[in-house]
Symmetry: C2
Amino acid sequence: MLGLGLIGGSLLRAAVRAGREAWGHNRSAPSVDAARADGFDADTDLVAVLQRASAASALIVIAVPVPAVAATLTAIALYAPNCPITDVVSVKAEVAAAAARQGLADRYVGGHPMAGTSASGWSVGSADLFREAVWVVGTDDGVDPGIWTQVAQLALDCGSVVVPAESAEHDRAVARISHLPHLLAETLAITGARGGPLALGLAAGSFRDGTRVAGSAPGLVRAMCEGNRDALLIALDEALTLLQDARTELAEESSAASLVEDGHGARLTYDNQETWEITGIVPGHDGWIEEMRDAGRRGGRLRRL
Amino acid sequence: MLGLGLIGGSLLRAAVRAGREAWGHNRSAPSVDAARADGFDADTDLVAVLQRASAASALIVIAVPVPAVAATLTAIALYAPNCPITDVVSVKAEVAAAAARQGLADRYVGGHPMAGTSASGWSVGSADLFREAVWVVGTDDGVDPGIWTQVAQLALDCGSVVVPAESAEHDRAVARISHLPHLLAETLAITGARGGPLALGLAAGSFRDGTRVAGSAPGLVRAMCEGNRDALLIALDEALTLLQDARTELAEESSAASLVEDGHGARLTYDNQETWEITGIVPGHDGWIEEMRDAGRRGGRLRRL
């Protein structure tokens, strides 16, 4: 486990609780000390940790912030180039490209557990963080079925369900449901605050809920949004078109019908969505990648291998 | 109390509990029967209810949906033209203009309790709905200080605090913190649902919170937004400019810094806002209207008269 923050630290706890042998690295000594004090195997020496992984052919999990991913992959290429590799970073195409640049494409299968809170650091982690969470496992062309299975098994061991998705498709999906919500929340917060104490003093549930994630640390929000720039621009342009059209309808016809009716229908679709269990697709069999992707697109989730 | 839905029905309960003599009208017999079964004084005969109000010089509260306001004011002008009048409708300038058209401007002081749920009807009402709520009392030029005091006292009797504000200023404020949030929530719901089952299946807290109010009944949302068209267009244009600028910065500089930093700061302003008690302004004294408005703008709230 490279990185022992909220996600990496929770993952180390969850993996050990599942009966796996697991150890972690963090470059901060206080974090490593805290992990050790809690009874976990952790070290600040990245080279030693990677050499140990190499000797054990261990699955390496990259759980560092986006800006540190490239340097981490360089170290892996130097000290553990034959290990299977995954990550828990919130964007996937950029990490896959960085792995390819290090010649690690055939050892890498991306991952993204949809879990987390606004808190950070080892101390706030929990072995339960991934329970019933959705964990995307990258299903790009040419992915190694053995490594894919290892990554999916780690997710299942942590109590998550697995959604197979191609990196680019994952990024487009999270742009819509995770990154765009942040941009809209920031926008609403600014527009509301411009109304001064009178407006903020009248604010109730709709404003409070609509701006909640604007309370997240700006650095984390920027890293997410900027790391998924191209997909986010697509979602943002769609939102801008919807709002521009609503503006025109409101100004010219004094009506908000189109946006309000469609938005209500979309929220009902979300409330009523059903998921189903993916069964019968065997990693490595002919066409398994396309079948997995198709199942993911249609709302399928893997609950066992 | 003209109208015995969620707000009017709750207000009738709260007024009676506060020891006031109060009676209500609803044009629907089942609603009136339900109110009577709960021990309240209610009738389907609008003329009789208004004639009784006229004889008692009672404060009339308009608690009907926006589209029914004009007809209600016509009936008041016919049968109870000398009664003091207020309302609990979510937009204020339009109701004030409708009152003026009926020659009732000098008897009217607008009100807007910032309370409510997505449910509706007599049965879901509660005498506690207004407890600790913010209740805007219209403070337009030329308002009658005696009627203003009666309306403010009703709000205080129901357990609310009073924020004095001019109708137009109220409407601009709620456009920012109540109507714009609805348009953004609808937009987010549509953009998310376009990602299909994959995107909706990955949606977590930011999408759920950001689209919550898109679950509100479309008719209510449209009535709010369309009834406050001019002020909402101002807020919507500000939001569009912020999002367009963010789009440009993201596309050209791969940065979301401006929107994210400003949005975070605005949310902190909201979280840390402080209110204070308005004291020492006496309705009717020289300059009281301007003083009340100024206090409301600066976050002041009246807790007693």
